[in-house]
Symmetry: C2
Subunit: 228 residues, 2 copies
């Protein structure tokens, strides 16, 4: 990632905001703010007003059905969420978004974002690629939820977290995630995830001390994510 860049999107809107390449006019369409830990930023079903960019922190993007919850993905530094306001079918947010830690955010008005997209073709093209990547992940996760047992999905989840959040110097996953949330991300119950976690520990694939999860045998863990 280049200096002054915030995210993986070349020509990303937020980068430009950060780099102040844009006219001051944008200020009327942008709102910076802080979300406290646990604060709900978007409520599923509410009318779409704009998109959010994460400067720093961590936000879970989740969907509910009845009293059950599934975490679709996490948006950390440089990521975007609430962008599904961009669609032709509905005018309400299809997901909820909740800060997992204190998170610094930037909100952009939907109309402004749309017009920007139409004018800034680089941005549009790169957002297109971003969406394609998301779709790729999304469809893979669909398959996993439908076809994989919980233990294997847990392996996928851990590897994904490792890839997205990296490791601390101590070598454990650089994210503070409640077991509840890990379960909701895996798509299973708290207890089941717990049991599978102990299995993985017994098989020496991971280890846990306190809140810290460490991947010991990445290769074997990854082999669980392969077919059959």
């Amino acid at each position: 990632m280049k200096k002054g860049k915030c995210c993986d999107l070349e020509a990303c809107l937020m980068c430009r905001l950060a780099l102040k390449e844009w006219k001051p006019a944008i200020d009327s369409h942008r709102k910076n703010f802080l979300a406290k830990k646990g604060e709900q930023i978007i409520q599923e079903g509410e009318p779409v007003t704009g998109v959010y960019f994460v400067y720093s922190g961590n936000v879970k993007v989740h969907k509910k059905w009845g009293d059950k919850e599934l975490i679709i993905r996490f948006a950390n530094d440089g990521k975007i969420f609430g962008h599904r306001g961009l669609n032709t079918k509905t005018t309400v947010y299809p997901i909820s978004a909740t800060a997992l830690e204190e998170t610094s955010l930037c909100f952009i008005d939907l109309e402004f974002f749309k017009t920007t997209l139409k004018v800034n073709h680089d941005l549009a093209f790169n957002l297109l690629l971003f969406f394609a990547d998301e779709l790729l992940e999304s469809e893979k996760k669909m398959r996993n939820l439908a076809l994989m047992p919980v233990k294997n999905r847990l392996a996928v989840a851990l590897l994904q977290l490792s890839a997205q959040f990296g490791l601390t110097e101590a070598g454990s996953l650089n994210i503070a995630l409640s077991k509840q949330d890990l379960a909701a991300f895996t798509g299973a119950t708290y207890e089941t995830v717990f049991r599978m976690t102990t299995e993985l520990i017994n098989e020496q694939l991971i280890s846990i001390s306190g809140k810290n999860i460490r991947i010991i045998n990445e290769e074997k863990l990854r082999s669980l994510t392969q077919e059959s």
Copy 2:
């Protein structure tokens, strides 16, 4: 849909092809052909060569894990598939695609499609919206697979098929789908889907005669898809 248009994307590439608005130069990048019923058009894991547009017919887009299969979606008239070659992470198709009936197709070379996207901003923007819609559906389906019981997922599947393929004059779903495929689309086994189908019949929500599925009580069926 306007006359001369093939799909829901304004400025869609295929429409332009069909309308012959483009220079003949394109012909070297386009290949029209027919896929027989049951013919596999894309094999998961093969290197990406381009994208496909459906003139007419029906193609299932599916993913495997071991010997199990999940149908992600169906691509019928005017739809696009294989577009996930467009991404930054992998150079192989993440999905398989198989014709469910005789299908008339158009293949576009990936490089050409990419350059076109960079030049044709209307196309890029509308593809962006299309991706956003797909993502919306995809994430909804993720939630369904994770949280809904099979019966409810079956209701979703039937309503979705009804929306995408419409009804025959007789009032039944205008698609010939094997129960195998319906099961793979629902994300459950053949037998389970069969049992749930009988339940829905007994509850007078649907009826089946031969291959024809008819939705009797759409409202109740839809209520199964609502939360809790």
